[in-house]
């Protein structure tokens, strides 16, 4: 989560400086504990992970390389999306890291489908699938259909609901009317828990338990995390619509310094060791950015303008 924060701060400053970043930047500030706590439960190469907008920390914990992130944000042709798609849409599906489309909720059934196919092929073993959704995303039909289907099929799917109180500018009161989104779990026949997502310890415990239950064949699991989005929706957004009361509310705690304090208080590391970690992270990020800056951006003349994998079925462009 520390590396995630450092990377995202860099991406934010590159965005504000202009010129280097292609398109928008969407950060997960304040959500690192919740996101990473799920990511570290997953085993790359064996589990399926479908991260969403604010899951940089989860991606790193899952094992996505820094280079994949930086290359996608900088639109390098060397990245997994080759300049065709950007930022948070990146992924390597064949390696279990799904590449989200923008339409919220639509990844739930996709991750479920991966698990379904594995069970059919006899290769499921104790693998799990995990994906995220925001408070806003829970209002989509796709979320509902996907989770219900996963429950009917009793798939080992862990769904993490990051309730950061806002969907872009829309507050929870315009998004749902239940007391806590975890109240939805029972209606799907799914086990659900809610945690204070600003507290790394609670997050770790909840996801550890949920992922274990899923691995044990107990069917889909829902973990709802309460927190506040500490950045704009994207870096173009100053989030001035978030009122002071929320900014100072109990969920506004920044999980990262809180976790640092805990680490120091518990004596797991001292301040200098932590500082070293930051310095190391900054070094890695700067190195990645420096490397990618020299890499090629896509060339339309070298681009293969073909959406189908089947060569023989591709049509010409029927251009004038």
């Amino acid at each position: 989560m520390l590396l995630s924060r450092v990377l995202e701060e860099k991406l934010g400053s590159l965005y504000r400086a202009g010129g280097r970043i292609v398109g928008g930047v969407y950060l997960g500030k304040g959500q690192e504990a919740f996101s990473a706590a799920l990511g570290i439960q997953l085993r790359k190469g064996r589990d399926i992970y479908g991260p969403l907008i604010r899951d940089q920390a989860g991606r790193i914990a899952f094992g996505e390389s820094l280079l994949d992130a930086v290359r996608t944000y900088l639109g390098a042709v060397t990245g997994p999306m080759r300049g065709r798609d950007g930022n948070i849409h990146r992924g390597r599906p064949k390696e279990g890291l799904m590449a989200m489309i923008s339409h919220l909720g639509s990844l739930v059934s996709v991750v479920a489908g991966g698990l379904f196919a594995r069970r059919l092929a006899g290769t499921l073993h104790d693998s799990v699938g995990a994906t995220s959704i925001g408070d806003g995303g829970t209002s989509t039909g796709a979320f509902h259909e996907g989770l219900n289907m996963a429950a009917v099929e009793k798939l080992p799917l862990v769904i993490s609901v990051a309730n950061n109180q806002y969907a872009y500018s829309t507050p929870n009161c315009r998004q749902y009317a239940c007391v806590d989104l975890v109240d939805r779990a029972k209606g799907y026949g799914v086990q659900g828990v809610a945690v204070d997502a600003t507290d790394l310890g609670q997050c770790l415990e909840a996801f550890d338990a949920a992922v274990k239950r899923a691995r044990n064949g107990e069917g889909p699991q829902m973990v709802v995390g309460h927190l506040l989005r500490l950045s704009g929706h994207g870096e173009h957004d100053d989030a001035s619509y978030i009122p002071e009361t929320a900014r100072k509310g109990p969920s506004s705690v920044d999980c990262l310094p809180a976790a640092e304090r805990r680490i120091i208080d518990e004596g797991w590391m001292n301040e200098n060791e932590l500082k070293d970690l930051f310095t190391e992270a900054r070094g890695k990020v700067d190195q990645a950015v420096a490397k990618v800056s020299k890499e090629a951006t896509p060339d339309p003349f070298k681009e293969k303008w073909q959406a189908l994998s089947s060569e023989e079925l591709a049509e010409g462009h029927h251009e004038a």
Partner: protein, 321 residues
């Protein structure tokens, strides 16, 4: 012994399940019930654990197929009616269709869409959505018109490493019969000369092939020989075969059962007008259904879509030109 269009669809799924353990079937009521039209009859008995009743969740049905395909499966999704794919639309055009292009991960899924009109089915059980899907990059759209094609093109669709929208016409399910399935037909992407002729070309597809053939027979009585081209797949569309036919006849009528704005017939005419302008001895014509939802009452339904009579009338106008 004979086999219907519908039975051919069942047989193709049987073959696919038998030959490839990665194939599975997912759709509403397709398990022990065998599907609303019985296209999967007995398959769940013959292949236990590979034919699944799904919840009424078209969005999730397609999404799950995409996820399964990523893991190496080759799912066949049955929409109960093509019309209901409108609620799975996003997963089809944005999730499935873009996956390979975005991530280099092929997405071999087949979505079976019982399409087209039958008497008394009304606005939401009669639609032909091929043009909607063909507009989006990344999808293959097939529209078999014969028993042979129903069988072989379904097997080919399953074999293709891209998402295929398989539009099966409900009007042909029971009526259309062949003595046997026959030998392998043309590959997907190639059109077929359903009837050779010299005076005019009808380009059409799916159930309208049969109406066109009958209209051609009618014109034969007047001494006209009409060529009928069955597109077989509307995307890719076999422009070469169309142009070669128009080169022979000099006259083009594009016929489709879908709504008139845009769609397959507009695409046919746009291609011929652009790439074969000099081949045309007369303005190209098209004939579609009317620009209203599809009516429920047979009196209205019969007048809403092209018929032998309206196709023949259009041909006569085309030939008089």
């Amino acid at each position: 012994m004979s086999i219907t269009y519908l039975e051919a669809i069942r047989e193709a799924q049987y073959e696919a399940l038998r030959n490839n353990p990665s194939v599975f079937l997912y759709g509403q009521d397709i398990g022990s019930f065998g599907g609303a039209f019985k296209a999967t009859k007995n398959l769940n008995k013959e292949f236990p654990g590979r034919v699944f009743d799904s919840p009424i969740s078209e969005d999730a049905m397609v999404g799950m197929a995409v996820g399964a395909a990523v893991e190496g499966a080759r799912p066949i999704v049955e929409m109960q009616f093509a019309d209901f794919s409108s609620v799975g639309f996003n997963q089809i055009v944005n999730q499935a269709a873009t996956l390979y292009w975005r991530t280099s991960t092929p997405c071999p899924i087949t979505i079976r869409m019982p399409s087209g009109g039958t008497a008394g089915s009304g606005p939401f059980h009669s639609q032909s959505m091929e043009a909607i899907y063909a507009h989006y990059p990344g999808l293959v759209i097939v529209t078999p018109a014969t028993v042979e094609d129903a069988y072989w093109m379904l097997l080919d669709s399953i074999a293709i490493n891209d998402p295929v929208i398989y539009c099966e016409h409900k009007f042909l399910y029971y009526h259309l019969k062949a003595d046997e399935i026959g030998t392998r037909t043309l590959p997907i992407g190639k059109a077929r000369i359903a009837r050779p002729g010299r005076h005019a070309t009808i380009v059409t597809y799916s159930a309208m092939v049969h109406e066109a053939l009958r209209a051609a027979e009618e014109l034969q009585l007047d001494g006209y020989s009409i060529e009928v081209v069955d597109l077989r797949s509307v995307k890719p569309m076999d422009t070469d075969t169309i142009l070669a036919s128009v080169a022979r006849t000099g006259r083009l009528l594009a016929v489709g059962e879908a709504f008139p704005w845009g769609g397959v017939t507009a695409e046919i005419i746009a291609r011929v007008a652009s790439e074969g302008f000099h081949l045309l001895d007369a303005p190209p014509m098209r004939l579609n259904s009317k620009d209203t939802p599809i009516p429920y009452h047979p009196n209205l339904w019969k007048a809403h879509r092209p018929t032998i009579a309206t196709i023949a009338a259009a041909l006569r106008r085309l030939l008089r030109y």
